[in-house]
Symmetry: C2
Subunit: 249 residues, 2 copies
């Protein structure tokens, strides 16, 4: 049963879907009919089982009867932000899609010394709109209750302003030094929010790491194998989910 995000607050009862994209998908692509059930998530992250009552083809409106769902939330109990150095278009899109599936709340892309790509200021807005759309679609598909926010930072140093409880850097040099316990130690303590920074293929420069460390970030290793820049955030998010959602402590 598919799920859509609407921008309004839904109250139990009749609700009119005004989003033309949802109309297109429900009425034209999937050819739903009166009586079919879809799920809607409103601006308050509430999930509603919604039975189609009317399809107005002329005005592209769908009326549904909504009942609040008692399905448990699919959101992680900790707010997770991943911050990745800019990379090629397909990698950035891929990171956005997979991080959404894996439960990230915020997905940050930043410029750094060895970033594979740099975005000119006149393309940033267009790129961010596209990534935000990818996040929305992935959130709908993976049955999230929120759409992760995609953020662009002109410089890695803007991460210093981040205020998460736990601030980490996935640092290849730490992994090479055999650092293998800080992540597990950190996750064994209670936290409400975490951010982890991932460098480009060429790595974060040691100056950049030093600067982040002097602003409360801690460098961690993610195991003995070298992961590509896009694989490491997936590893991190999977581990967060396991620790907070599956691990029976």
């Amino acid at each position: 049963m598919e799920q859509y995000f609407v921008k309004e607050t839904i109250k139990q009862g009749l609700f009119e879907i005004s989003d033309k994209e949802i109309y297109k998908h429900v009425a034209t692509v999937l050819r739903h009919r009166i009586g079919d059930v879809i799920y809607l998530v409103d601006e308050n992250s509430e999930l509603f089982e919604s039975t189609i009552k009317n399809i107005d083809a002329e005005n592209k409106l769908i009326s549904v009867e909504t009942v609040k769902s008692d399905k448990p939330s699919t959101e992680m109990p900790i707010d997770v932000t991943i911050a990745c150095s800019l990379s090629k278009k397909d990698k950035v899109e891929w990171i956005t899609q997979k991080s959404t599936e894996l439960g990230a709340k915020r997905i940050v892309f930043f410029n750094s010394k060895y970033s594979i790509m740099h975005w000119k200021s006149n393309v940033v807005e267009k790129k961010m709109l596209r990534l935000q759309e990818i996040a929305k679609n992935a959130a709908q598909q993976s049955k999230r209750r929120i759409i992760p926010e995609v953020i662009y930072l002109k410089d890695i140093s803007e991460l210093n302003k981040f205020t998460e409880d736990l601030k980490l850097i996935a640092y290849e040099e730490s992994a090479k030094d055999g650092e293998s316990s800080i992540l597990a130690q950190s996750l064994n303590k209670p936290h409400n929010s975490v951010v982890c920074v991932f460098g480009p293929e060429g790595g974060i420069s040691s100056d950049e790491v030093t600067d982040l460390e002097s602003n409360g970030f801690v460098s961690i290793g993610l195991g003995p194998r070298i992961m590509r820049a896009e694989t490491a955030p997936m590893y991190f998010l999977s581990v967060l989910s396991y620790s907070y959602e599956l691990n029976s402590k």
Copy 2:
């Protein structure tokens, strides 16, 4: 410093690299010179720091002086097999690459009732060669000590013959039922080997699950969000690495 797999046993001292692909990469692509150092992994998974002593352009041979490396192994302390239903070409290739980066020892693709793709018998060999090549390249890049074996099974029922200590099915219906503790419970016990089965986008049929379960497989949930078919194995491998390589018990 890049790494290559050779098929021979290396003894400390002089070694001649006869693999023409390695020659091409070292001498032509990267233009290494005498005195440069590369790493070689031999058929016994031993790593050798290898200093180039001669490059014979005519016969495409490279001679190196090898010294056994004392770098710790990058292999997981548990043998992990992932078994995925056949999917589109790019997904199958992607799973092979990422699973290699994440430490899988065997990567199995099988036909099942709802598989997105089926391979005709006359294309299997060619496809397997290509996947094995992807695994080799990813293993070199991520500094593995072995190349994961890629295996094709004509039918999901062939998994019944698998003899791993721990046999799991990532089953969407289990996740939907809120099952969230079996994986963590299982990983808290000692195991030498594990296999986990991942269904296609359409899921594994309940008949297929029942058959596997009657052969020692246990169904597990991997958290509350719906993951795409290619994302779930990455989640699993990341969790295995965390449990066995990072978690400070």
